[in-house]
Point group: C2
Chain length 714, copies 2
């Protein structure tokens, strides 16, 4: 388990992102070569420090005096770009470290991504750097860039094609391509990007460490991070916390969630992609939005940069086309973005503004009358501005041309944002219409779908960030990952697959409600146990109990609804005989009262090697895996989080009473999940998995009870 | 129910879309007024026929001789644009019809969209037109446009802003805005649009009729239709069939599927939006793709126009970036687009082409080596061309610049398409990169997400079109909507809510398997019935049976697992007493054997007023509506369609045997659904709904059995 390490020394980060001097080792006079491009970019994009091209074959490179080697310099440069290949790269790392260079970008490929021999060379590389107190980004890295200082230690051709401009966005990526794709989209949309860091093999300063470094820059409002593996979850959590404390947002695109994507990622970076559900839960807990693709990665950027309060995300859609309103309403409902119910006062105000054939509802159809009356639009916006329930606004302009005063509309929209500081976006298929709004800083989208998606992401993400901030405040533990490295609290619990009796007993000791049960070695013991556990004719169950036979029902080892000594005796006999036949040494049966809950749920634990135990709560029974009505939570979590998660199940209406069923005991289910999470945390690294199915849940106030469970320990 | 009417007279369509002469009534000299714009467009976009501006106040309009009225013309124009408002529009419709004009576009608003009085004025308008044999588009219509003939009878400002060009695409829309939005996106992407028709209130020639008209143009390869209501399903089906027979595609954006969207649509066009699931089923049956939003409406257009065979949709992703491959694989899996498993021969061929550090897998990572070797890319494409399993190709180019020969890559990609006639698309965030491919006719997208979505839609839609063609061939009924207007075959079935006994009996007569049952008026009859229905001690059920008490269990009227005469007698007594207490006249109980299936399914019918009966098949039991594991089919349908639908249920693995459960009787379930559909068809308009829940399904070969049902007739 990763332990939260101290932040990277600030002087190292300064050396990389704000160096006073940079050596480019393997520098080329040709700006189109890997070793020429950093020299070109440093000159072109305003780097004010010293540039030392290192090349034994030349006196001058791109107008700069060149040096044959580091030794020829009178001072150690803060940073170095190592643009030579293979073994030469290793040698240059040694020399840089020896010379007192603080940090280097190593561009050479052919290390861990090629297999075990490469991984050993990579370990050597890191060791050589650390020997001199130097840190590296890479190898196989496209490099770092700070467009505020002009420190572009990066060989991407993208900056030749799409000119940089400083701005409040940082991009950090394990992949070079995935760093410049969002860069290109943001720059083409007119947004400035300060940092672009592509870390490659993550051998030393990884993507998470660099994310933490750029998040610490107070001017950064949005950090975009592309990951194929969660190289350092604790540091990623720290980056998110640093950003969040000043209201800055972190969006992660974690790829490789599909089967084939995971295989491709493994061959791309050699990294395991991790359990996707655990990653979802981890990112959500830390207030990080997970973008599904590159478009979603950048879509809401203008809203983050403006930073207006999205309130509860309740949105008003305005258009001069009824069709745009209908489509936007469909899209909002599909996305889960609530459209505002306009307050009566707002409806009255709008009814005075709008002509007869417009409707003062949401979506708001302003009709073609928008064209005729110059003050119609600002008056309608004014009415919305007075409605505190109208948190966000989407304006749809499907068509414009002669007769449309687009400049005035854009001015009105910008005025609304200035006056009310609320998120407002425009959708318009015509590039010329978008340009008018863009000039006034109003975020624009080509389609309603993109506009609604951006509002939805922004509003939901801000709520996620608030929840993470609350959780951070409440979390006395202080450890971003929780105490996953704790010691096994029940070392005597056993190893491997535990039998049902041992599993239930163990879980019961940690507060998971379990059915009363007795373990019996003879039919007579079973009869006595049944009499003790179930009064009168109350039915009991008898099951064969052996860790080596987990699939009991396949072997006829489950006998339900037994009434009376004769039935119990026969069932116990049959089970003991069957177990003996299966070669079980010292066969035993478990006797328990027959418990029927109002509904069967299931609980489970899997343990992610990086993120710790993940607790699953689901609609239980034998069809659990087909129905896939499940929610997951990273342990530890509290009762409120467990209740909230249960409320996201499709079967959640059962907690309020459904048809002629009484309301179910939500608190008992949530309590059991919390107890299971605490059990998993207490086990530390010794737990493999838990399956509790079914967990019988009773009517409210009557509890819940696990009636079957399998615990697997290491 | 709509009856398939004959296609609109071709001379009417010619008069609208290919007129020899057009009168513009209410013509203005100002091209920026509604009455000026059609004159301007007709002149500007190459209309070769006669233009007759009608305006009593002017002698000349926009360089054309103007006339005071239609009477002043020596001939009746083929078509008229009526660009005057209110009552004047009605008067001009009368005059046009009297003068022998064949068809008119009525632009005036203030008709059915304003309420009942407006609807009556609209009826008058249509009657006035029909009295002279004239047909109209509108009122409240933006109008028609044919950019091949220059016949632009349309007032949208969009054609001032985004210049038209003829091409193989037709757009038909009930909304003006929703007609020009896809137009703008397609034109900005360089695609030509021939027809743009916005029909407004659909009082006469509606969107479906106009879709049929443009689908009949052999040059049209793609018809895009925006609908808020399904104004004429039969004609829409005919339009799709006409297009499909020559391989042309129809994509519909039907909005108003959300609750708030439906309300907005109702106030926008006054139309009811219909049952969304029924519309899905209807469109799918007729091989029409349903786009969820405007972006998806146009996204796959270039692929439709190329028309290459997508085979089974198996796709290869190629990039010089591993990250693009990982993301594309994730996106493909989420969308349900299969990535090809490369044939061993293809892998061998690629292994020879690719350098050591590229991997001959799919996604195919060509690495930066793509830059160094000019023949690497064409050789890799050649290897894929020899693999018949590689149906489609996506090329991801996340970054380019100096050193990238983008022109050569684009040429190679175009060469592959020429040689192999397979769908191939490119994703690239840089506009300059896309331009190189666009110039060679290779479809391009900004993001992998759009590229994958376009391939997915195209491949799935072509399969849907093939299925619709097969169904058309097989359907001896010949009626696009089936025989939904048939006569009730069982007039004696009753009216209103039928009781359980009557419901099961009726369904049983139509071939739905139902539990044997008897209706009893006394406890003694119940005891006799139980003895007759269940041999020995086999358990029976006794339920109170009264149409006026549908919620039996709430009243304690369901008694399960009864064994022996005493239990049956007591249960029947209790039920009869309870029914009497509830005021039921002549109370009766139903006795049936207790049937336990391996799994409980449910079947249901709802009847859409336009589309007829919709049969639902679902994972049954009391949680049916929470679990929402359902599929729907428009009746009538055959066994194969029912089986295929059942296979889409989440619980479908039950049909193959799951865990220790035997395979379930899929055929029996599908048969029951077919029988239910036939019953619903036979009822014609008299059926309201059917609920069968549960339908017990047994192991394969052992059948299925409805044990509870409610039929509601009109």
């Amino acid at each position: 388990m990763p332990i939260l390490s101290a932040a990277v020394n600030a002087s190292i980060i300064d050396a990389l992102l704000r160096p006073r001097s940079v050596a480019v080792i393997g520098a080329s006079d040709n700006p189109n070569k890997v070793g020429g491009r950093p020299v070109h970019y440093l000159s072109r994009y305003g780097f004010a420090g010293r540039i030392y091209p290192i090349n034994p074959g030349r006196d001058e490179i791109q107008g700069h005096r060149a040096y044959p080697s580091l030794d020829a310099l009178d001072t150690a440069p803060d940073a170095a770009v190592i643009a030579v290949a293979g073994d030469a790269a290793l040698e240059q790392v040694r020399r840089c470290a020896a010379a007192g260079v603080r940090a280097a970008v190593v561009m050479a490929s052919g290390f861990a991504e090629t297999g075990d021999a490469g991984r050993r060379r990579q370990d050597e590389l890191v060791a050589a750097a650390h020997a001199g107190g130097m840190r590296i980004v890479g190898p196989n890295a496209q490099g770092t860039a700070n467009f505020a200082s002009g420190a572009v230690l990066n060989f991407s051709t993208m900056f030749m094609e799409v000119a940089p401009a400083d701005g409040p966005i940082a991009i950090v990526s394990q992949s070079g391509a995935a760093s410049v794709m969002p860069y290109a989209l943001l720059r083409q949309a007119g947004l400035g990007v300060r940092y672009l860091v592509a870390t490659g093999n993550d051998a030393d300063l990884d993507a998470c460490a660099m994310a933490e470094a750029v998040a610490a820059d107070e001017a950064v409002r949005l950090v975009l991070i592309y990951l194929e593996s969660l190289s350092d979850p604790a540091r990623l959590a720290a980056a998110a916390a640093i950003a969040r404390r000043r209201g800055a947002a972190v969006v992660v695109l974690k790829s490789g969630g599909s089967k084939r994507g995971a295989a491709a990622a493994a061959s791309h970076t050699g990294a395991m992609v991790g359990n996707d559900a655990a990653i979802d839960a981890f990112l959500a807990r830390h207030g990080i939005w997970r973008a599904p693709d590159i478009a979603a990665f950048v879509r809401a950027a203008p809203l983050y940069l403006q930073g207006h309060d999205p309130g509860l995300g309740r949105t008003v859609v305005i258009s001069h086309s009824g069709a745009v309103g209908v489509m936007a309403a469909d899209l909002a409902e599909r996305a889960g973005l609530p459209l505002t119910d306009l307050a009566p006062a707002t409806q009255d105000a709008l009814a005075q503004v709008l002509p007869d054939f417009g409707t003062a509802a949401n979506p708001l159809d302003m009709t073609a009358a928008l064209l005729g009356q110059g003050d119609l639009f600002p008056r309608a916006l004014g009415a919305l501005g007075s409605d505190p329930g109208a948190n966000m606004v989407m304006i749809g302009i499907p068509v414009a041309g002669p007769g449309y005063d687009v400049e005035a509309l854009a001015g009105d929209a910008a005025g609304f944002v200035d006056a009310h500081a609320r998120p407002l976006v425009v959708s318009a298929p015509q590039a010329s219409v978008r340009a008018a709004f863009d000039r006034r800083g109003v975020p624009t989208y080509v389609t309603e779908a993109d506009a609604i998606a951006a509002l939805h992401q922004y509003a939901m993400h801000r709520r996620l960030m608030e929840a993470a901030a609350r959780a951070e405040g409440a979390d006395a533990r202080g450890n971003a990952l929780g105490n996953v490295a704790g010691h096994p609290a029940d070392a005597g619990a056993g190893t491997g697959l535990l039998d049902e009796y041992a599993s239930l007993s163990l879980l019961g000791r940690y507060g998971v409600p379990v059915v009363p049960q007795r373990l019996c070695e003879t039919p007579e013991q079973a009869v006595q146990a049944a009499a003790a556990l179930a009064a009168g004719d109350a039915p009991v169950v008898v099951k064969g109990c052996a860790a080596s036979v987990p699939h009991k029902s396949e072997h006829g080892l489950v006998h339900l609804r037994l009434a009376g000594a004769a039935q119990v005796r026969a069932a116990a006999s049959a089970c003991l005989g069957k177990l003996a036949e299966l070669g079980v040494d010292g066969p035993r049966v478990l006797v328990a009262p027959m418990v029927k809950g109002t509904h069967e749920f299931a609980l489970g634990v899997t343990v992610d090697p990086q993120l710790g135990p993940l607790v699953m709560i689901g609609d239980g029974g034998t069809l659990l895996e087909l129905r896939q009505d499940i929610v997951t939570l990273l342990a530890p979590f509290d009762l409120a989080a467990a209740r909230e998660a249960c409320r996201r199940l499709r079967v959640a209406p059962l907690f309020d009473g459904y048809r002629d069923m009484p309301p179910l005991d939500l608190d008992a289910l949530a309590d059991a999940a919390v107890a299971l999470g605490e059990f998993a945390m207490a086990c530390g690294g010794t737990l493999m998995s838990v399956d509790i199915n079914p967990l019988m849940v009773m009517p409210a106030g009557q509890g819940a009870m696990a009636v079957d469970a399998v615990v697997e320990m290491r």
